[in-house]
């Protein structure tokens, strides 16, 4: 019996949590959420109590966290900022502290909300207007009587920008290819070591395994050394070779491991 009730409350909890998830998803960011919350105050946005709003928002976030919902970072940033704003609004102003007062910050937030709300209304009014090809119409029969055929060429700004973007993107890849020439990959080093290690009888400095022509150019040498070292670690792990280093910074030596 008691089991059944817990189960039921579990379900209702989960449903409530899911409703909230849907709600959070329905908001387009913290400002949108704040605007929606502000509607519950049922006053002109200019007379809104930012303090009450901050509390509502924090309560909302708190509840969401209790339900262990994943909240996007910007919701949490806003929560932290509102908590700060709340303390500023509640505490008497400290004259030694510089920076904007709580009232200034609150006024700006109210302005942002009013502006967003105004833009929403403007957007709605705009879309409610009579629209071309829906409410009013352009000429259906356009006369392009081909009497004289003079060819002109057109291109739009979009064509131009896309054309340029095409070339530049191509360009951006070019140095990337050039850079590869100075990179001795781990795969290449592994292949080389596997082939050579069989011929090495005794301890040999790994630097002697660098490929021909890679010892002089510092960039190439660095890359080849790193990949050869990494490759020798890999071979040591496989049990194919042994490694040793006599002292700090002294040459690293490897030799084939006999089974």
């Amino acid at each position: 019996m008691s089991n059944a009730t817990t189960f039921e409350s579990d379900v209702s909890d989960r449903l409530a949590a899911e409703a909230l998830i849907v709600d959070v998803d329905g908001f387009e960011g913290p400002l949108d959420l704040l605007l929606t919350l502000s509607r519950t105050q049922k006053v002109d946005l200019r007379q809104i109590s930012v303090l009450a709003l901050a509390q509502q928002y924090l309560a909302f976030i708190h509840k969401a966290r209790d339900l262990r919902l994943e909240l996007a970072a910007d919701y949490l940033v806003m929560a932290a900022w509102l908590a700060f704003l709340k303390s500023r609004l509640l505490l008497p102003p400290d004259p030694s502290e510089d920076g904007p007062s709580g009232e200034e910050l609150a006024a700006h937030l109210a302005f942002q909300l009013e502006r967003l709300s105004a833009m929403r209304e403007a957007a709605a009014k705009l879309m409610a207007r009579d629209q071309l090809a829906r409410d009013f119409f352009a000429r259906g029969i356009t006369e392009d009587v081909t009497r004289t055929r003079r060819v002109t060429y057109t291109a739009t700004l979009l064509d131009l920008m896309q054309g340029y973007a095409r070339i530049r993107t191509k360009d951006e890849f070019r140095p990337f290819v050039l850079d590869r020439e100075k990179i001795f990959t781990m795969e290449e080093a592994l292949g080389r070591l596997r082939g050579l290690i069989g011929f090495a009888g005794d301890w040999t400095d790994i630097l002697s395994y660098l490929p021909d022509g890679w010892e002089i150019d510092p960039a190439k040498r660095r890359s080849a050394t790193a990949s050869t070292f990494a490759a020798s670690l890999e071979l040591a792990k496989e049990g194919k070779i042994e490694m040793r280093q006599g002292d700090v910074f002294s040459p690293i030596q490897i030799r084939k491991r006999d089974r």
Partner: protein, 228 residues
């Protein structure tokens, strides 16, 4: 050719017999024909270029506008261009002609409104107003619809590019100019079109005013919002 005489009569009755009536009547016919032949708005300059030398398309347009007043088709001004459009109250007859337009997302509609009311506006300013980042797809879609385009760069650090609305936008929403946006005056006098920096972080956003001084040359809509 009997047309000239009938024209003269028509104008006489319509415009109380002006001294240059026949000529102007002929010009009116020409403007009417050109506008009828095209779906896109035609500028006065373009009309001038196509009509015989010495014509005054602007005056002809004024007569023509009067003539089409209250008709099933009306002469509308779109930016600095003119076009004939069916009267909006007859839209119900045209279901056949209606093209199914892609439904714009809420983000796209809001972004469009912000560009229209705040232009020229940078991406950062759009994001500041909406409180969320603007996705690439949204701007992309509005550019593709040819409702917004890149405007001048803002003369602030980084020289961000701005967005403005296009003539297609005005045409689509039946606006003569961006000044005729619904509620523009109220929004402006309420200070809601200003870019107010957050207190304590002055410089970054303040240069809005600089933009005004920069936009003293003709043509662009930017001065639209600087004057008054």
């Amino acid at each position: 050719m009997s047309e000239p005489s009938t024209d003269a009569q028509a104008v006489e009755t319509a415009e109380e017999s002006l001294f240059d009536a026949p000529l102007m009547a002929e010009q009116e016919r020409m403007v009417e024909a050109i506008l009828f032949a095209t779906a896109d708005p035609v500028t006065v300059t373009e009309l001038e270029g196509r009509m015989p030398h010495g014509c005054d398309p602007a005056e002809a347009l004024a007569y023509l506008r009067k003539r089409y007043d209250g008709r099933g088709v009306s002469l509308v001004k779109i930016g600095d261009a003119w076009a004939l459009r069916t009267a909006p109250d007859l839209g119900f007859l045209m279901q056949k002609e209606t093209v199914e337009t892609r439904k714009l997302s809420r983000a796209a509609v809001e972004t469009l409104a912000i560009v229209a009311y705040h232009q020229p506006v940078t991406r950062a300013e759009i994001e500041e107003i909406r409180g969320v980042s603007v996705s690439r797809g949204t701007v992309d879609q509005l550019i593709e619809l040819e409702w917004i385009r890149f405007g001048r760069r803002r003369m602030t650090p980084g020289r961000p590019v701005t967005f403005v609305v296009t003539q297609d936008f005005l045409d689509h929403f039946g606006l003569e100019s961006a000044r005729d946006l619904p509620g523009l005056q109220e929004l402006r006098s309420a200070g809601l079109l200003e870019s107010r920096p957050a207190p304590g972080m002055g410089d970054a956003v303040v240069d809005e005013d600089d933009d005004g001084s920069e936009s003293d040359d003709d043509g662009d809509q930017s001065e639209l919002f600087d004057e008054t």
